[in-house]
Subunit: 491 residues, 2 copies
């Protein structure tokens, strides 16, 4: 972190006094080295880095705090004061940097909506979808599995198979067959860094500028972003209570169709068998691939499992996509593709070019949990927990809103969509603001609709409500406060 | 793994008898479910999966072995016999699958040389470059760090910053400054899945079909593949003992230049300061980016550290690329980009679209090791070990080959290039064959040269010899056997 000229010549900072550390830190803070949030190294960490005593570092920090450069709080990490935070740097950089060309892909990325900034942690209840409760994570089993991998003996540390570890693919092959009646060869399975990378590989290998792709409307916005980033144009197909309305599929210019048939995201419809066959027949005629995103099929409540498209007749163009982001953690970044045999080699080559392979220890740890059956008992356990959360949410909404609310997509998954009949769509932004003020995070369904398509969207406020990261008390409290926010607006 | 119709309806295999398991496995083997290598589940794993006793599974396997479907070896995993391995499947699939279109990127990938198949493990010595010795991995420290991450309390499990964990970027910022005199803002650092992903992000954001890129000749072949896969064309610049010959850089049509100035891969030259300035001046004139791949700068032996391009004046277009694949393990898949401020947002967006972020636990574990200083003491330790390996290799080569060999690039890194004066280049393939037969793996430098450029390559056999995965005994034995192989050919 801290370095002086002579130290830098040695390529290693020698022992320093408090004064030198103070000077160096001040210089860095003013130069804006500490980025937007101004977080500085902990005194412990810095002492270790510089091999000086912690008191030396503390002395330096206290001097900086006294002079108003640093904000010191007990237990928290030192922060540079916003005022002190380097105005210099940005300007200096802009001046000295000529900006080279971007590819058309790079130019298109500029137009993609900036990533949502995560909300303040201080909320009483945040209904943001996609997060999970740490208490649901199988800490002990995962720890044991990871330690086993780290301490395992190997001949040499070398790059692994780009398709993923043989052990994991073998375990997944069995799991997919048992849990999803999905049969495939080992070489059809490509382990990826979460379904995100699976979608990106599909986009790169199957789409290019000027192509068309079929996508649900509303849909998983990141999928639309990934496909659009290639320069391909969406054909948005309206969704009803049975998922994508396959009657609207016209003669096929499209290269691929992206669907979530087990539990449409966000509206939650389960695609009936008739539509599934209709979709596959269209794909065959159009000679297009169908990407089946099975992101949360582990969570079924009142309904019996629906086999994936992949299992059906005529499914030779289906690319199946699964993930553990909804059953273990989104931070693990593990997903898997099952691709048709005619694509297995080009996907393997692409995966190798893109990042060699997915990190081995997560793969092997997951394999251990699948082999031992722990993964499936874990899924059964958290399915029960999420069912409790779901029922708590449904009861609370019914109790607080009665007929004022339409809930859809509650038979499966980890979220619902709630349509608030009492509020026109135009009031969405205001409701979100009001809710935030009283400590709850609610999230509009609107960004998930294709902005280019005007019709098809209900006229009142629609919220995507995820519950997997919340306990029942938070859910009840959250609904209670949401009711309050709505009442305030109706005054 | 094994499933029967009614079981599949239940979505979960019930308890089965040995007979049923035998039937199901046989069916799968013939249908080719077990891929090219025919590896079947371990009896332990399968018993757990089916919740039956292990003896039941063993009985089924023994029946299959008796009938010649399976090869059972004590301690090893059961394998399907190649003969039994599904001839059906391939045909069946080809028939039923119409093959959709690939993007031009996908089409180009077909032309990229298939990934090298890793050599048999039975070799006495394999000089393959890129592998590390497991005995060099800091198992205890890493285990402690990972366990700390897994057992750490969090508010919720949610997607992290696409640029990488704040803790790791803060730790890297300090490390880069101390170890490489490289100063940057936190927001310029993008944590990626190994340098491979860093190069791929650069390729996607900076290159497109028809563009030109400058690259060393010979070079890291995967880099050339990644850039070529975009449809851009290489401008190969010859390398001498001082790295890329920057005098050959002509007026700039190129969008970027890819260089390894700290230790040219593979020939090992260290680019002197004069050439560095020449390169940066060219980049400014051409308005091109310079990608500085600092893949093994931790390993310097007889020479003093050379500061990276990134630190120099006029380096506003330099993209710095680092990795832990050479200091910890290539299987961790962690690297980092330091991009110019004008690129930091688009790189962050790209990283998020591509795979959200790099897995969190590896990031946090690495951060822990950097904060505590353990990482740097680890690097010092294995630098000493690799220096021993290096000297062993150099002495052995000198002793066995005397003036018959030219060794280059030995001042730094984890490999050397050995030119065997005694053998014409045309005998390379034959030498590799002979060496393999007597149990050593040697690897030609030829594939690293641009096939489109005929001149510049010496007329005799050149080998890239990595030593980081070998112990000194293996190195001496390996050189001894290499000598034998060469002698056989000179008879």
């Amino acid at each position: 972190m801290v370095q002086l000229p002579e130290a830098s010549k040695k390529g290693r900072a020698g022992a320093m006094g408090a004064r030198q550390i103070y000077e160096a830190l001040k210089d860095q803070i003013v130069r804006g080295v500490y980025g937007s949030n101004g977080l500085l190294p902990s005194s412990r960490g810095l002492a270790a880095e510089l091999s000086v005593s912690r008191t030396t570092v503390t002395a330096a920090y206290e001097q900086l705090a006294a002079e108003g450069f640093v904000d010191l709080r007990q237990g928290a990490r030192p922060r540079a004061m916003p005022a002190a935070l380097g105005q210099l740097s940005a300007k200096r950089f802009q001046r000295q940097h000529s900006s080279g060309h971007l590819s058309s892909y790079g130019e298109r990325l500029k137009s993609i909506p900036p990533r949502p900034r995560s909300l303040p942690r201080s909320l009483i209840t945040d209904f943001r979808y996609g997060d999970l409760a740490p208490s649901d994570f199988p800490v002990l089993a995962w720890k044991r599995a990871v330690v086993a991998v780290v301490t395992q003996r190997r001949d040499r540390l070398a790059y692994d198979d780009p398709r993923g570890s043989l052990r994991l693919r073998t375990a997944l092959q069995g799991y997919l067959w048992r849990a999803r009646t999905l049969r495939c060869n080992l070489d059809q399975i490509i382990v990826v860094n979460g379904s995100q990378q699976g979608l990106d590989l599909c986009a790169r290998l199957l789409l290019e500028a000027g192509d068309r792709f079929v996508i649900e409307n509303p849909c998983y916005a990141m999928a639309r972003n990934i496909f659009s980033a290639t320069g391909a144009k969406p054909i948005s197909i309206a969704v009803d209570k049975d998922g994508m309305n396959t009657n609207l599929l016209t003669g096929g210019e499209a290269r691929l169709a992206y669907v979530t048939p087990s539990h449409q995201f966000p509206l939650g419809g389960v695609m009936p068998i008739g539509r599934r066959h209709q979709l596959l027949a269209w794909a065959r005629r159009a000679n297009a691939y169908v990407i089946e995103d099975d992101y949360d099929s582990e969570y079924r409540y009142d309904i019996s499992p629906v086999p994936p498209l992949h299992g059906l007749e005529d499914s030779g163009n289906v690319i199946y996509l699964g993930t553990v982001s909804k059953t273990l953690s989104p931070t693990l970044r593990i997903g898997y593709l099952v691709v048709p045999p005619q694509l297995q080699d080009v996907f393997a080559t692409a995966k190798q070019l893109v990042d060699r392979h997915t990190p081995l220890s997560e793969q092997e740890a997951l394999a251990t949990m699948l082999e031992s059956g722990i993964y499936e008992s874990h899924v059964r356990k958290i399915r029960r927990r999420n069912n409790e959360r779901r029922e708590t949410l449904l009861n609370a909404l019914h109790y607080k809103f009665g007929d004022g609310i339409d809930v859809v997509g509650a038979d499966a998954g980890l979220h619902i969509v709630a349509w608030l009949r009492e509020l026109p769509r135009s009031m969405t932004g205001e409701l979100i603001e009001k809710a935030l003020k009283i400590g709850i995070g609610v999230h509009s369904v609107m960004p998930l609709y294709d902005p280019a398509v005007s019709e098809g969207q209900p006229d009142y406020v629609g919220l995507v409500m995820g519950y997997a990261a919340l306990d029942t008390r938070q859910i009840e409290r959250g609904v209670h406060l949401l009711r309050q926010a709505v009442d305030q607006m109706r005054k």
